[in-house]
């Protein structure tokens, strides 16, 4: 197990109406660890990802970030959220702002950096994701893959302790998936703590320290990628892998 836990979920439960989407979830993510969450749709993996920065409140159980329990909605929660970046399936860039302004906005509003300092940092990050040339465009002028890389730069601009990825490549054309995965691989190599909900098994194999397999709101397996992909223990995981790895 992780020596230095950054994200800890203990006994987390959540319902949507009668549907029990998260059942007694225990999960620890250590500093610098890359945890990939996979599972069939409806298994609660996206919900799990969203509970970590309390975009989805939970009913019972505790979630701690770097030793601090998640507070209720308010300034304290906003402060904690700034430490955990999130990348969404649908990018969610601010449509009325340029790429540069998208990356700079929260630096100015939340980190209270000056505009010039923020823009300088934004340009460095856009350079890192290979999009500096597009800094003055609006999100709608970019391809999906480019928008997602901007979204990653925007999350990185807050200098977060961890990044959450909620199916970051699921809305992308196949040829754009790689450009996003490459950026994520690089982040993983640089030692960023990451929780990645994805269907990209290649990424899970190559970048993950651990694979968490979820089904029906429970964590069924939590192991290293080699162990999981070569010798899954549960029938549910065997069934899942046989279906997706066939072609």
């Amino acid at each position: 197990m992780a020596v230095d836990p950054l994200i800890e979920l203990r006994n987390v439960n959540k319902h949507y109406g009668k549907l029990h989407v998260l059942k007694d979830i225990d999960l620890t993510v250590g500093r610098g660890e890359v945890v990939v969450v996979i599972g069939p749709s409806g298994s609660g993996k996206s919900t799990l990802c969203r509970t970590i920065n309390r975009l989805e409140p939970v009913e019972s159980g505790t979630i701690t970030l770097d030793g601090h329990p998640l507070p209720d909605e308010g300034r304290e929660l906003a402060r904690l959220r700034a430490e955990v970046g999130m990348v969404f399936q649908s990018f969610n860039l601010f449509a009325h702002k340029t790429v540069l302004a998208n990356v700079s906005l929260a630096q100015i509003k939340v980190r209270k950096r000056g505009k010039e300092e923020a823009d300088k940092r934004s340009r460095e990050l856009l350079e890192r994701v290979g999009l500096l040339a597009h800094a003055d465009k609006y999100p709608a002028q970019l391809s999906g893959g480019q928008q997602q890389r901007v979204a990653i730069a925007r999350a990185l601009a807050m200098d977060p302790k961890a990044l959450l990825f909620d199916e970051p490549t699921s809305a992308l054309d196949p040829e754009m998936i790689n450009e996003v995965l490459e950026v994520m691989q690089q982040l993983a190599r640089d030692g960023m703590t990451m929780v990645v909900v994805t269907h990209e098994m290649g990424f899970a194999r190559s970048a993950a320290n651990r694979v968490v397999f979820m089904a029906d709101g429970r964590i069924v397996e939590d192991r290293t990628p080699e162990e999981f992909f070569t010798a899954p223990e549960s029938d549910r995981a065997k069934d899942f892998l046989s279906k997706i790895l066939k072609h």
Binding site: N53, L55, E73, R75, A78, R79, L80, R81, A82, E83, V84, G85, M86, F88, S90, F91, N92, L93, F94, A95, H96, L105, A106, K109, V110, A151, R154, A155, M158
Partner: protein, 214 residues
């Protein structure tokens, strides 16, 4: 026909009165409308209730009744203000309920994901609303807000019945002076057209400049 040229100052004062009522009440309605719309989507329950009650009460009260309530009711509680100010209050609060609902529909056009993204970056509710949601909502509510303010300009005629100087009230004097009622009203209508067409023009410009590019 010469009813206008004979009575420039009467018409002028009336038009000025209507313009003043429209401008002040519009400003009040816009400010209150945006604030109430923010309340209606706020994470704080009591604010949401306040916004909902505000809209339910004001939108469902006949404006004339509201004028009676404000002009005759408030003085009973010791609030004594010039009638014109009372009229601005009544008109502004009444219209703010409609602006609020227009703005709220605009807020609903902004994808929720953008709000979630802003919150996940650590922005507070107020920052998210002010920097992300309202600027985009504003673009899509320009046309309905324009219509609402035109309605406000025309509704300001009710203030004339409460001895506030405004355009429609000019007909009483003209009638007593024996002018043709038809021409008196034609020129009054032209006065209202000047006000409402100006509002239309302003909102056309706003829409060209800020409207959503689709």
């Amino acid at each position: 026909m010469n009813v206008l040229t004979d009575n420039w100052s009467l018409y002028g004062k009336g038009l000025l009165g209507t313009v003043e009522l429209t401008v002040y009440a519009s400003l009040l309605a816009l400010v209150l409308g945006f604030v109430m719309a923010s309340f209606r989507v706020a994470p704080v329950g009591s604010l949401r209730v306040l916004g909902t009650v505000w809209v339910a009460v004001l939108r469902n009260t006949p404006l004339t009744l509201l004028f009676f309530a404000v002009l005759l009711g408030l003085p009973r509680f010791g609030v004594v203000l010039p009638f014109q100010l009372f009229a601005v209050l009544a008109l502004g609060c009444y219209t703010s309920a409609f602006i609020c609902e227009a703005v709220r529909s605009g807020i609903n056009t902004v994808p929720t994901g953008q709000g979630e993204a802003a919150r996940s970056l650590g922005m507070t509710f107020t920052q998210t609303l002010g920097a992300i949601v309202l600027p985009q909502a504003f673009r899509s509510v320009i046309p309905p807000v324009g219509s609402t303010l035109i309605a406000l300009a025309k509704n300001s005629a009710i203030a004339g019945s409460f001895s506030v100087t405004e355009l429609l009230g000019a007909y009483k004097t003209l009638n007593e002076l024996g002018y043709s009622i038809i021409w008196s009203f034609v020129w009054i209508a032209v006065g209202y057209l000047i006000v409402t067409l100006t509002i239309s023009a302003v909102f056309n410009v706003l829409e060209k400049r800020w409207g959503v590019a689709r």
